[in-house]
């Protein structure tokens, strides 16, 4: 079955899925005509994105990370990565970057086949990942005339946001980013417009949190990883702050409420999951090139992911943070500072521990991504800590985001099976 068909099997089930698909396609269409229409285009990253602010200047928003993953799901990323490696990029580095550069080199057609626009602004929100900085330095080489705005978001090294950090981010927004955006777009900054968007953001955030936390039910009505990546799509990208997103989340919430009421399990590409045998917390991004195959390894065994950290990369909301129309710039700063990969390792570990407990999980699974040092460096210590703190078994697998060469189905399946068998062996004894 092709990826498109897979998406539609999922989509047939629920309205929200259709809605989301439309939103994404529409955005690609908008982007493809932006240059002609004279709409300015900003490229930016998911973690710490300042989407509401970009909207204040009428920028069309392009997210290279999303393009890479969409291309991977359409099995196009492999060729793109090879293309980038051919011009001298190392096999060792992040494949998101290579997929993006490769896409440009192969005619710059987006995932849906429409042309991608030339950016007018590279909004380098440097949050939680060092590679972002190199990434846009490299893109800048392709567009030497395009302005680059650097928003340096300091790392939460001690697990809290200090005044110095917040002030620094706010100051950059005020004195550097906003003036740059005004200059590039020709639109004057209107803080009330920002407030309006943030009201929408807040609503959507509330609903998203409901949806993600619905996994505390038994059985869980959602898969908070494989399903979760669909749920976070709009709010982590070009749609946070739009009414379209707010509507999407309201619809989604209703659907999930209905599932909870009916005591249903999550929807998988092969229909509703029958029996929930294992509840798992997952750390790390998914693999996109074999997404469906990967998911199947879970639902075939009756494993549901009840909480994941990947669904927090574009904002951690379940700890109560919301965009705040009263303090728009400060809350943007806090949002950026609070993204998952900007948290230090102890904070990330605490979060996982809490998930294992709160979601009554059977254990932790780490999907370690070759590309992503930001996520991966230190995961083995996290694993050890969680095992010790919760007494629940943890397991470790290795794949990559968008490089099909690094997904070894037999290997991953072997480990997952061993892991699930281990959980059940332990459980049999407890019984």
């Amino acid at each position: 079955m092709s990826v498109k068909e897979q998406a539609s099997t999922v989509a047939e089930k629920e309205d929200s899925m259709w809605k989301q698909k439309e939103m994404i396609n529409e955005n690609y269409e908008l982007l493809s005509t932006a240059n002609e229409r004279g709409q300015k285009v900003a490229s930016t990253f998911v973690p710490g994105n300042i989407n509401e602010l970009l909207m204040c200047f009428d920028f069309a928003r392009n997210f290279p990370e999303t393009n890479a993953l969409q291309n991977a799901m359409r099995k196009k990323s492999g060729g793109m990565i090879m293309e980038a490696e051919k011009i001298g990029h190392s096999e060792d580095v992040c494949t998101y970057v290579k997929a993006d550069l490769g896409m440009m080199m192969k005619g710059n057609k987006g995932p849906t086949g429409l042309p991608m626009p030339d950016p007018d602004l590279l909004m380098l929100s440097y949050t939680g990942c060092f590679t972002f900085m190199k990434w846009f330095e490299l893109v800048r080489e392709q567009y030497p005339k395009c302005e680059t705005a650097m928003l340096h978001v300091p790392y939460q090294a001690d697990g809290n946001i200090t005044k110095n950090m917040r002030d620094y981010v706010v100051k950059q927004l005020k004195e550097d980013i906003i003036p740059t955006m005004e200059r590039v777009s020709g639109v004057k900054f209107d803080i009330d417009r920002l407030r309006e968007y943030m009201i929408q953001s807040q609503k959507a955030e509330d609903d998203l949190v409901y949806v993600l936390q619905s996994a505390k039910n038994k059985p869980s009505p959602i898969d908070a990883y494989f399903g979760g990546v669909y749920y976070i799509g709009p709010i982590f990208t070009a749609f946070r702050g739009t009414t379209a997103a707010t509507d999407y989340y309201a619809t989604l919430r209703k659907e999930i409420e209905a599932r909870v009421a009916a005591g249903l399990g999550p929807i998988t590409p092969e229909g509703v999951m029958k029996e929930e045998k294992y509840r798992i917390v997952v750390e790390g991004p998914p693999n996109w090139t074999h997404f469906r195959e990967f998911w199947k390894m879970f639902y075939d065994e009756g494993a549901v992911v009840v909480a994941s950290t990947y669904t927090k990369v574009g904002g951690v909301y379940d700890n109560g943070f919301r965009h705040d129309p009263q303090n728009p710039l400060e809350s943007l700063a806090d949002y950026c500072l609070g993204c998952y990969t900007n948290l230090n390792l102890p904070a990330r570990t605490d979060m996982l521990e809490k998930y294992v407990e709160d979601y009554q999980a059977d254990g932790l699974l780490i999907n370690s991504i070759k590309s992503c040092n930001s996520f991966s460096a230190g995961q083995l210590l996290m694993l050890r800590e969680i095992e010790q703190r919760t007494g629940k078994p943890a397991a470790f697998i290795e794949t990559d985001l968008v490089d099909p060469r690094y997904f070894s189905p037999a290997n991953v399946k072997n480990r997952l099976e061993s892991y699930f068998q281990m959980i059940s062996q332990k459980r049999d004894r407890a019984a």
Binding site: E387, P393, E398, K413, N414, Q421, M422
Partner: protein, 444 residues
Amino acid sequence: MECYIGIDLGSTTTKAVVMDEDYNVMGQGITNSRSNYDIAAGVAKHEALIDTRFMLFRNAMKNVTALGDKYEAFMDELERNFRLEQYLEQLIDLDETCTKASENTRYSEWGSDLSDALSGVFKRVTTEAPELFAPGAQRKSDFFRDIAGSQYSTISEEVAKQAETPFDVLLNIYDRSIIEVENRIYTETTNQNLMRALDRTLVNLPDLAPVASEVRTEVEKVLGIDLEETYVIGTGYGRARLPFSKDHIRSEILCHGLGAHIMYNDTRTVLDIGGQDTKAIQVDKDGIVESFQMNDRCAAGCGRYLGYIADEMNVGLHELGPIAMKSTRKVRINSTCTVFAGAELRDRLSLGENRSDILAGLHRAIILRAMSILSRSGGVHDQFTFTGGVANNEAAVTALRELIKENYGDVTINIDPDSIYTGALGGATFARRAVEGIPTEAVA
């Protein structure tokens, strides 16, 4: 007799264990893994059943009181003769297959020289066969492919020097033929071979003449026992390709964990180094797996690495350990890349370093990688059990003992000569339990 069988289809070797209904290990069999997994599993199982049969012989012979103190000698002779018969049978097959292969037109330029050379080679290989199975003889391997292969290549190198046929051609004919030969199972002829081995034994041990008929009756009685395959469990790297239903398959982690627990009840940490993977497993007091770690996709530092090294040095796998043990000086080697191991070896040799020292360094490098995986799985807890093929290698064991002591102090280290069968033993135990209706819980 009811037989519960565990089959561990590894990347290099396939192992089988036969258990009776009282959880006694009755027989073990091993063969090299090959492209045809069914055959590999079939051969290993067949070998284990033969071993079971020998166990039954042994038990039966104890009843032949007249045998007295000749019991040991008799059993030993019988077993060696059986192996010889088996070997000869395959050799004839190999000879025929090679001869047929040599008739291929692509060798026509060598004409009758080739068939002369070939028959010369086989004549010598056959003549030398009994020596290989003489009392106390050391064989380079247990597998026909390796034993016959090494005989063949040594002899044909000499033959090639005298005749006008290049060594490459002879080698190529062997490579072609061995694949065919090793993909045949010789189940039907087993009993004949046994009887022939018995004949040979009685000839070789004339002292036994007085009890010959009694012995013969006992052997025939045992041959009459039906070994019923009551339940089979498959495990190991190739398990997914075994034609078994899901109920008959267990992950190798669980099997190794349980197998080690069965061998040593107090085991808490298990290390298994096989051909292509290294596993560190923590088990609890009932043999239930608490956590495990495996090497990642890179095959560096696994058993296959030793295989490459042995090839590179033109020695048998068995000889590597003993050579390394002669080392007097420490050499640090960092690269455990299997493929480049040979290059590094040459590099070092050309720098004038001593072969034993380099080999000792290589063994230590392998064990260092294993130590990391152990550390990743949660360290080493008393008691520690080392399993897998590499546990047969004394230099690897020595390095391991040293490093365990340096890093974890005094820990009991268990190494069973049969440790290569650990996974299969776990599998057989699961098979027995499945029939008893015990899901996974330990009984021991």
